[in-house]
Symmetry: C2
């Protein structure tokens, strides 16, 4: 695992700065300088167009195209339809022409290139000098942000200052639906209508297959009057709308243009396009009645509040501090819980790989971040699952099961994953949803959610496992045969430890929820039972299945076998693997993975994190020391969990390496694929590595508990979380851990195993020797 910073980007506390233009880094920087606001996202591509390698990417959360899965032969239960977040309108479309030359950094002479993302304001600027001819230099500065306050709004500013000449410039401002969806090699939009009227240029387009519609409209202002204005035409036809403006340029006088763009979407394929056009024109007209500066101020205020509540500071390690802040910034940009019909794609809104699809990572890796920073957002993520319960029920039917089978990958709740990956075998996904429900209710105490939505989901998920599983004719145990666990190297196994344990938990949570609702809201239980036609014998069956669930846990050592027969798999020594054979996923044929005892990502170890209280420290050590050397970490889900457990086991050097990997995975492009988009799940894991890892937080006990530690390299660090109605600050240095309720409180927590009450006045606890000295050990 590579964890060396590459020094390409400056190490700064509150910003990401790229100096100099390097075409070979262009796509990586496009990903890193992506912006999003949950409603939409845009990559850091150049406003003015670029003749070099670029992914001009603009995505609207939940707006997808669909294509049929192609199989030589379609068997029963094969998913029929693929869907993916589709590349949409490039609303930053700009062209600059001076002296007959169109600016293009692939050809034009430029210098003093600087691109900067300000994490405190969410604003990205890019400026450089364009030598339009010998001795004639134009300073070009683009500024952009996506409003976190009015999410339909994107804002762009263009400043053009001729340093040593006067002349004229043509500026084209447009809305461009022509960029291809790169991973499909084609464009999926049909332009339906466009128009420039009353200072507003608008365009409406529709996807070919799914019939989803995106409407965009912009209004611009300029610091001086144009000498010419025309609507643009050309071969992009109905897919490009815009205006061409000609301006005189006066030496030393900046010309400033501001373009505010508002968007509206219609996902119903049957919605009438003209009706939508009229509605969208009116709505966006309202949203555009503002100014760039006003929106920029609101944006800065939004982020100021975020950082006040949720900053993580690390004294003594600016690289990791920057990386961690960047992760928080991008996580909140991708999702902050405004819309319960949205979820979190594996690459957020920053690229096309993984198709903008949400995985089980949402509940297992991302949910804790929201649960402890913005519980309402966590609730909305679970509402997404409730809203897509009908699709999960339908999928269970298709797979000859009862209940609800949440999909491996999805945007709209239907299964997107085709047979090539055998995602249908990853039946642990519904259990992750159950885990999310339990975790949310356990931490927030939100019984209303449990009664209104959680209970129904839990019942349907339990039903799924009950109907999917079987009974061993040899031992009489209940189990789940023919599955893929969290570890995707072993694709079709029986009784995967993680899956069985999660199914057992699901049965137990469901029975607890039924018991709780019986007491506190019997009428609600009756309503749910009637709605889902709960059969009288079902809870007793689930109880028996949970009790008899196969879990291969060695009675003496506590070592858990990852699945039936795992310990009999031929061994491969990963330390002896030559570097040219890594990464394993690329350098070994896919069918070889299932034949050896290597694993892609934590499986058994995941249980020891989720359910920390269920395992003794010694059991954790035995399992960690067995599975960690067998793990190739070829999932961004892997290092974070290892980091957390390594900290708990006093392996702080190892933990630190894992933390560093997660916090700067994209900034330093450790995996060499940041060009494809950001690793959102890894960003969530980076936050977890800090809070659950060094912070030593655990959230599966009766109270939130902490066992903080600190890496030798750091002087101190701090983070804030929402818990029990309070905003709790945790500050750790080499001497002590200090807890304080910044807002609300007092709350009860466990610190190093002792119950403590934390109020406004705060509480300091000395770090035990192990946490200090051990920090130097590997």
């Amino acid at each position: 695992m590579k964890t060396q910073t590459n020094d390409y980007l400056a190490i700064e506390p509150w910003s990401i700065t790229e100096k100099g233009f390097h075409p070979d880094r262009s796509r990586v920087s496009e990903s890193i300088f992506s912006l999003a606001n949950e409603f939409m996202g845009i990559r850091g591509h150049f406003d003015e167009g670029f003749g070099g390698s670029s992914l001009v990417g603009s995505y609207f959360n939940g707006v997808f195209e669909e294509t049929p899965h192609i199989y030589p032969n379609r068997l029963a239960g094969f998913p029929e339809r693929n869907h993916f977040m589709v590349n949409a309108v490039n609303w930053l479309y700009t062209r600059l022409e001076v002296n007959g030359e169109t600016l293009d950094l692939a050809r034009s002479r430029v210098s003093e290139f600087v691109r900067k993302l300000d994490l405190r304001t969410g604003v990205m600027t890019r400026s450089f000098l364009w030598e339009v001819k010998e001795g004639s230099r134009l300073r070009v500065t683009f500024t952009r942000f996506l409003s976190m306050v009015q999410s339909r709004l994107g804002c762009q500013r263009i400043e053009l200052e001729p340093l040593d000449f006067s002349g004229s410039i043509a500026v084209t401002l447009g809305l461009d639906f022509t960029p291809p969806h790169e991973s499909a090699g084609r464009n999926f939009w049909n332009g339906l209508r466009k128009e420039t009227r009353g200072g507003v240029t608008a365009i409406l387009a529709e996807t070919e297959g799914s019939g989803q519609k995106v409407f965009s409209a912009f209004r611009h202002t300029a610091s001086s009057q144009p000498s010419g204005v025309s609507e643009i035409t050309g071969d992009r036809g109905a897919k490009l709308a815009g205006v061409r403006l000609e301006f005189p340029l006066t030496q030393g006088v900046p010309l400033t243009l501001e373009k505010l763009v508002a968007h509206d979407i219609e996902k119903d394929r049957n919605a009438d396009a003209q009706v939508f056009w009229c509605r969208a024109l009116e709505r966006t007209g309202g949203w555009l009645e503002t100014t760039f500066e006003r929106e920029r101020a609101r944006q800065a205020a939004y982020w100021e509040e975020v950082w006040k509540r949720f900053d993580i500071s690390i004294d003594g390690d600016p690289a990791n501090e920057q990386g961690t802040r960047y992760c928080i910034f991008q996580m909140l940009s991708t999702f902050h819980g405004v819309d319960p019909r949205l979820n979190i794609g594996a690459k957020g809104l920053t690229g096309e790989v993984y198709g903008g699809l949400a995985f089980w990572d949402t509940e297992s890796y991302c949910l804790p971040f929201y649960l402890f920073t913005n519980p309402a957002a966590a609730r909305n993520l679970l509402c997404f699952r409730y809203n897509t319960l009908p699709q999960a029920r339908e999928r269970a039917r298709q797979l000859d099961c009862e209940g609800a089978r949440y999909p491996m990958t999805t945007i709209d709740g239907t299964e997107a994953c085709g047979v090539w990956h055998h995602g249908d075998l990853e039946i642990h996904v519904p259990a992750a949803v159950a885990y999310g429900i339990w975790h949310y209710v356990h931490i927030t105490g939100d019984k209303t959610f449990l009664h209104e939505r959680g209970l129904e989901m839990l019942i349907e998920i339990s039903r799924f496992y009950a109907s999917h599983g079987g009974w061993s004719p040899k031992t009489g145990e209940f189990g789940l045969w023919g599955v893929m666990g969290a570890d995707e190297f072993h694709m079709m196994v029986h009784n995967n430890a993680y899956t069985n344990a999660m199914a057992k938990k699901t049965f137990e949570w469901t029975l607890q929820a039924i018991a709780e609702t019986t007491l506190s809201a019997p009428e609600r239980l009756a309503a749910v039972a009637a709605k889902v036609n709960l059969r009288k014998e079902e809870p007793a069956r689930w109880e028996e299945m949970a009790r008899k669930m196969r879990l291969q846990r060695n009675r003496d050592t506590g070592l858990i076998e990852q699945h039936d027969g795992y310990f009999d798999l031929p061994h491969i020594d990963l330390k002896a693997l030559p570097p040219e054979r890594k990464p394993v996923c690329a350098k070994f044929p896919y069918i070889k993975r299932s034949r050896l005892d290597w694993i892609k990502q934590p499986d058994v170890l995941l249980l020891m994190f989720f359910f920390s209280n269920d395992y003794s420290l010694e059991e954790k050590r035995v399992n960690f020391e067995y599975y960690e050397p067998r793990c190739v970490h070829e999932s961004s889900l892997s290092p974070g969990i290892h980091s957390i457990l390594a900290t708990e086991l006093g392996k702080h050097r190892m933990a630190f390496d894992y933390v560093q990997y997660a916090s700067r995975l994209d900034l330093d492009d450790y995996n060499g694929n940041t060009s494809q988009g950001l690793h959102m799940t890894s960003m969530a894991a980076a936050w977890m590595s800090l809070v659950y890892g060094f912070g030593g937080m655990r959230s599966d006990g009766e109270r939130l508990s902490f066992r903080p530690a600190i890496p030798a390299k750091w002087n101190s660090y701090s983070f804030r979380i929402v818990y029990g109605g309070a905003l709790l600050e945790v500050r750790v240095d080499h001497r002590q851990a200090a807890f304080r309720a910044v807002e609300g409180g007092p709350v009860e927590i466990d610190v190093f195993g002792t119950k403590r009450t934390v109020g406004r006045e705060g509480l300091s606890v000395e770090l035990p020797a192990a946490a200090g000295v051990g920090a130097q050990n590997s």
Copy 2:
């Protein structure tokens, strides 16, 4: 398993006759009346065109189109390219017009429809009365055959007899490259050139992707002079060549046209099309210098010789006799060993499903038929594997293995099977090739083949298994993890019994072949060892791997576990499965198959057939009685093997049901999918069910052995096989089994465990009581 004849086709000893035209049966009949001659095949579609449901199918053995496999994500080792036998020129293209009406059985008024395939001559005729207008009837008779003597030649005759009117008729004769490849929904041909000159109409076309070329040319004769001749034109353009002929019709006087069509193919994509055109024009010109009658006589003589040597007669069961003869006819039509670059597609040359691809069925199910009827053809099938050894080596490399990995499905030796089916896990395929080599050399004693080709293949296949396998850390056994066995319901298992046993045999055969060659042809061994760079330690490693191969055989009962953990799979009672849930493959989701103890086809039982001598009768009984009730037989490979073992175990009623299923599978469309093409492998299994089944033949011992039995319903049956240089006839009735060397001999065989010598004078052996009385038992 359905085994009721449907009485649609007349039960006749030497022909297949369909009376009356039934559009809903049209596609099934098209398959049944398919003709082939190894070089090419044509479905029984109507010469004159048909507006109803039809698959106009014309295939050239080994001529394929290729398309890329489409995956959302391509991982290392994924097969890149699909390829399939591509629908080509309809050289029977005919149009008949009278009174402005074009004959079309979907619309025209026809009566007295009779279609007949004569198995003794290989000629198919179809005749009917066409009422061209009230009271004006034209008797139309089409005759066709594909020459078994000159395989480039297809022959068509059209007889037109006006019964009660005089008038005129326009006859169009053509070569049509426009029919779509139905399973792809499109046509893959580009017409390159066409021409009518000197009485010959020729056309050349090329596939889009693979660049393979097919040239067709025809010459026609007519019993009277046409009143008009013109070349055809029209919207099919460069893909259709032909002539339109106008003839007067005189009441009671038949007009006869004969069309001889010759074909040439060029598979090299780089071959120059014009050079090929010139060569093909010259070659086909020569092939066309013959007459319909002359070729028909040669065809009849060919088949007469076949039946003299290889007929199977069954006295007392005309339906099974007809079915068995039909199987022999179609097997020999599909392949009779002329070209060692060709193989046997799962549906022969009769349809598009399975893409004309050859499977491991060739060596495991088809080879014995050829081995005992036409050993030179058997040798050519193995030469196909030798010729494609480079592709198998390359595939092994791609899969991170050594040696040679023969493909799951192929036409040209490369792997066609994509990831959707996980055929890459079916690593038992190379072992089936090794089995074929061993079986062929064992029976024929052809050491030259062993030295020149077999040894090299065996070494490379052993290497493949040595590099694919691993060592159990628990038991120290060698094994094969992560595979799919012969039973395709359990897709990714460890140490599949069939696969492990076959790999063990492969190691042993290889070591034997090395030992034998060391003695008899040391220079040849040295040459092969040098060619493949045989390392000194390899044979010793294979010996150890064979010795330590995991085979889970219960010491007490002999019951073999199909794979690690199979006995722990939850049980499903197939008898309790309601009819609406069959076939399992269609009615249950694909992922459910691996979770239960049902199996698709024999796996362990296959070993007991291949290696009869290795297992006691009691072991066979134990395994048969365990696995037979768990088998759903959803592979046409299944009933034949069950039939053979059931006979051996005295379960004759069960055996008889299985035999009937195989022999008339297509004639009675038991599986409801004969419309897609004929089940060639099942036809081979039908022959085996007779010869190995009731004939009780076994070919894995020192000598060929027989334990004949006879079903209660039959009076007697007989078959002939080639063995030890003799043509051996076996006649069995309820009293005795009679053996006689019709040609050659004497040869030594075992009959009921006793060594006997069979010469021209013959030998009769009384059937033991079990074979007679037991015949009534189920």
